[in-house]
């Protein structure tokens, strides 16, 4: 029915959802590869169940994988344009995210009474009005797929294995994607299993054909983004961080030791480093979080770059080690993945509620720089920046990311190693001469003390967690020494505000409304602001990569707007921080559902059609 013209879209988000056995990840990945090769910007966001493998058909066991693609900023936070629901449970769990008027591709073969019941439906959701307002494409996937591969005479079980390619083919038709990238991939992958290759190929094509034959549907066309030139790849958040560590080792000339205790999904970092074996990086699995952080700090004392990763309650468990690094004034980079809390909250879901903990969660006055990652690929840059700060200021640095960012993927221009920032630390001090003893706490212009590599003759010295005399580093209980050291450590961190970029804005430098984002809300805010600006709203977007200290001009920038609104996946922590530092009252848009904002949700809010649920007055931040 090629005579219906396709509808043009700027971008779209589709979501595959089903059981463990539905190869959701595979479909999503292929769709993303194909789209990236077409020149779309692509953002992928898997959504895995909290349990390893739950009972098929239950809500708890639904796997989902979203692919956002199009010509402009894409975030995991789009309303879903097409939902592929392989099971009733997949429909139920994901329907709230589908845009009004969106498309539901339903695998009717699994919409049987037994399955609705497992999903918690009383009746068939395909026919009881649940889907009123959506466009439903009913596909008896198993049946049609069995037909498609019948010539191969496979067992029914083996035949059914290729059903995901049937669905993928249909989706390729729906969004006008060519089949060849996936066909190539299949050929390479199953070179040694010709039957599998053939079945998958047939299924893919049959799915596409099914789409072409659909009455009344014409499908869509999504324009490619103009970007480049350069070498690009897709990268997910965990990989970007792992590559950042590898690049940090390379550009600093120091080995990196990455020690961590497994915590899903932060453990992906350990997996990646073990798998990639980047030169100069030593990954180490520790027995618990505090051991991991201590190992990393020990490595830093040894002149290597110590990295550790934590998640959830793990950050509290290592607060003493971070405090020790503050006192010893040694490098240490802590990559902390935020997830729903308190305690273990909702596994596998993003939140941003550990910001104030990162800033304040240590005993004594122990300020440390805190940075946050804004998108999957951004983790690479943030690790390099954290490495710069940790060595230049001899201080531990906390990098915040979240569960969603670790899983999500986006296109990334592969940097040239040689042109990455030069991160070599200051040279070791000269050996002492008579009358000029070595001072381990002598400070340079940035108030940083020297980083001496053990093994260097003549510079033997002792550090530790007790207060010291400045310069000599000798333990001191003198009141004045303590006050001096507290102030010096404070100033050392505070002045970093002058060594980081100013708060950059998208949009005009002043106006009615500024959206201020930090961390993973970046994408949704950027998308909202772009769409608002397109429709004529005078809105700007500021994003904070450095949360502590804040860029020096933060207060000035914020004051230039009538209203500043801060969407956060918490109860308003950045708002509280800004108020405590500048007495500036920003508006809080809190969301604590274990889900990222949608760009449209924010744009709607700005258009006045969305009533944000603000905090109840007096709620403790």
């Amino acid at each position: 029915m090629a005579h219906h013209p396709r509808t043009d879209l700027e971008s779209a988000a589709i979501r595959f959802a089903g059981d463990f056995g539905d190869c959701i990840q595979l479909m999503g990945d292929q769709f993303a590869r194909t789209s990236a090769a077409l020149g779309n910007a692509v953002f992928t966001a898997p959504d895995l169940p909290g349990e390893i493998r739950s009972r098929p058909g239950t809500l708890g066991g639904v796997h989902a994988f979203q692919v956002g693609f199009g010509s402009s900023a894409i975030t995991p936070g789009d309303y879903v344009h097409t939902l592929v629901a392989m099971t009733p449970a997949a429909l139920r769990a994901n329907l709230p995210d589908v845009a009004a008027g969106g498309i539901i591709v339903a695998n009717t073969d699994s919409f049987v009474a037994e399955e609705w019941v497992k999903a918690g439906y009383d009746r068939d959701p395909l026919s009881d009005g649940t889907l009123t307002g959506y466009r439903v494409i009913r596909v008896p996937v198993t049946t049609l797929n069995a037909d498609a591969v019948s010539a191969l005479k496979l067992s029914p079980r083996d035949a059914d294995r290729s059903r995901c390619f049937f669905v993928l083919g249909l989706m390729y038709w729906l969004y006008d994607r060519p089949l060849d990238a996936t066909l190539h991939w299949l050929r390479d992958r199953f070179a040694h299993l010709p039957d599998v290759y053939k079945a998958d190929r047939r299924s893919l094509k049959a799915g596409y054909q099914f789409g072409m034959d659909l009455p009344g549907h014409a499908g869509f066309r999504v324009a490619a983004q103009v970007y480049g030139p350069g070498v690009f790849r897709r990268v997910n958040g965990a990989t970007a961080l792992a590559l950042g560590i590898a690049a940090a080792a390379n550009r600093s000339g120091r080995e990196a030791l990455f020690a961590s205790f497994p915590f899903a999904p932060a453990v992906e970092l350990l997996h990646q480093l073990m798998e990639l074996q980047p030169p100069g990086v030593c990954p180490l699995q520790a027995e618990d979080e505090s051991a991991a952080a201590s190992m990393a700090l020990g490595a830093s004392f040894g002149g290597s770059l110590g990295f550790t990763a934590t998640a959830g309650p793990g950050l509290g468990n290592i607060s003493d080690v971070i405090g020790l690094a503050v006192a010893a004034e040694l490098p240490l980079v802590v990559i902390h993945t935020m997830r729903c809390g308190p305690a273990l909250g909702v596994p596998g879901k993003p939140e941003q509620a550990d910001l104030l903990q990162a800033i304040h969660g240590r005993n004594g006055e122990s300020p440390v720089p805190v940075l946050a990652v804004r998108s999957p690929a951004d983790g690479f840059d943030v690790v390099l920046e954290a490495t710069r700060l940790t060595m230049r200021y001899m201080t531990p640095v906390i990098v915040l990311t979240d569960v969603g960012l670790l899983h999500a993927g986006e296109p990334w221009r592969v940097p040239n190693v040689a042109t990455l920032p030069d991160l070599r630390p200051p040279a070791s001090p000269p050996p002492p001469t008579p009358g000029k003893p070595f001072l381990p706490y002598a400070r340079d212009v940035r108030l940083a003390r020297p980083w001496v590599v053990p093994g260097t003759p003549g510079l033997e010295h002792r550090v530790g967690g007790l207060e010291k005399e400045d310069g000599t580093g000798v333990v001191s209980y003198e009141p004045a020494d303590h006050e001096h050291m507290v102030n010096v450590r404070g100033q050392k961190i505070a002045q970093i505000a002058g060594d980081i970029p100013r708060l950059a804005l998208e949009g005009p430098p002043q106006g009615d409304l500024l959206f201020l984002s930090w961390g993973g809300t970046y994408g949704a805010v950027r998308q909202a602001v772009e769409s608002l600006r397109t429709s004529g709203f005078n809105v700007s977007h500021g994003h904070l990569r450095h949360l502590s200290p804040l860029p020096a001009d933060t207060s000035d920038v914020l004051r230039r707007f009538k209203r500043v609104v801060v969407p956060e996946l918490n109860c308003g922590q950045l708002v509280s921080l800004l108020r405590s530092q500048y007495s500036i009252d920003c508006e809080s848009l809190p969301k604590v559902q274990g889900r990222q904002f949608l760009g449209a949700e924010l744009a709607d809010w700005a258009r006045g059609s969305f009533r944000p649920r603000l905090l109840s007055p007096g709620v403790e931040l």
């Binding site: 690009f232 590559l243 030593c282 180490l284 190992m295 020990g298 190693v417 007790l466």
Partner: protein
């Protein structure tokens, strides 16, 4: 000193100018002096030695040693030393920790360092009391010990560091006492050159909170009766007339009088190098007054160390960073 050979260092070269701040009479003083002497005798340059300490009285050790040093927190010295050694296999890493720290918040790190056979050396100051916090029961306090938190005598059974660590795969285990200069020198030297985790347990007198706890084992007038000096390849004999010996009946150690009709052949011969740790486990558990307490080296065996493992390049070619950045599936836009 000639121009070409390594300078010969003396114990004084390993001392710092810091005032030593332990209670007068504390056993830590002897440990410090003996340890400085031991270091001087190793032929290692100062800058290749790092001493990591935990918290507690023992934790002050690094301040008095002119090497690289790091005074850390309860429970953190061992993992910190593990990280240091993993990053810097060329350093000789000593850890100075009290038993309260090591068997309390630090016991997990101890067992994991041991099972990984990390090439660090642990000087374990065992005074069987929490000294720095002013005298509470330690996990190593023997039943009946009175402290401020066990006013009626402790009732819990004690943890002994060596048997525990042997159960986790310790490759070098030794025990000495603060005042035994010669043995301390000897075991420190052996521990240093052992490849793998080494524990040197030092019975250390806390003069203020547990005074005399080890008198039975250090008092020259009785120690021949109460202790047994382990010597590799020699039968386990003790007593002022070397008249008693240790026999193993099944898994249980018995003390027998050699005067009886027990032939010397029945006496267990000490073997540090047995692959099976059971014999060293049994010996390290022997406690006065039921048994003489053993001093010296219990076990010294070899297996791969963590840092060796880490620095063996894993199989397969390593990929250049630029390659890794590009990944398996890059595309080019022109």
């Amino acid at each position: 000193m000639t121009g070409t050979s390594l300078p010969v260092l003396s114990a004084k070269d390993f001392a710092t100018d810091q005032t030593v701040r332990w209670c007068p009479g504390c056993g830590d003083y002897s440990v410090l002096t003996n340890f400085q002497h031991a270091l001087a005798g190793l032929g290692l340059p100062r800058e290749r030695v790092a001493v990591i300490s935990g918290f507690g009285c023992a934790g002050r050790l690094p301040y008095y040693l002119n090497t690289y040093g790091f005074h850390t927190l309860p429970g953190r010295a061992l993992p910190l030393a593990v990280g240091l050694k993993a990053a810097r296999p060329d350093l000789t890493v000593w850890v100075a920790v009290g038993e309260g720290d090591t068997l309390g918040p630090g016991v997990g790190a101890l067992l994991h360092a041991v099972r990984r056979n990390v090439d660090i050396k642990i000087l374990l100051f065992n005074n069987e009391v929490l000294g720095l916090t002013r005298g509470q029961a330690s996990p190593a306090a023997r039943v009946g010990t009175r402290t401020r938190t066990t006013p009626h005598g402790s009732t819990e059974s004690d943890l002994k560091p060596l048997p525990l660590a042997l159960a986790a795969g310790l490759t070098f285990a030794a025990r000495t006492a603060d005042v035994d200069a010669e043995r301390l020198l000897n075991v420190v030297r052996r521990a240093t050159f052992h490849r793998g985790t080494a524990i040197v347990e030092v019975y250390q007198n806390c003069h203020v909170y547990n005074d005399g706890a080890f008198d039975y084992a250090t008092d020259p007038s009785i120690k021949a009766e109460t202790t047994l000096e382990l010597e590799h390849g020699k039968p386990l004999i003790f007593g002022s007339d070397r008249e008693r010996g240790v026999r193993l009946t099944g898994p249980t150690a018995d003390i027998v009088e050699l005067r009886d009709d027990v032939p010397l052949d029945d006496i267990l011969v000490h073997d540090e190098s047995l692959p099976d740790p059971t014999q060293s486990w049994v010996l390290s558990r022997m406690t006065f007054p039921e048994y003489p307490e053993c001093f010296g080296v219990f076990r010294a065996v070899e297996r791969p160390t963590l840092d060796e493992i880490l620095h063996v390049p894993p199989p397969g070619p390593t990929r250049a960073l630029q390659d890794l950045l590009a990944g398996d599936d890059p595309w080019t836009v022109v």
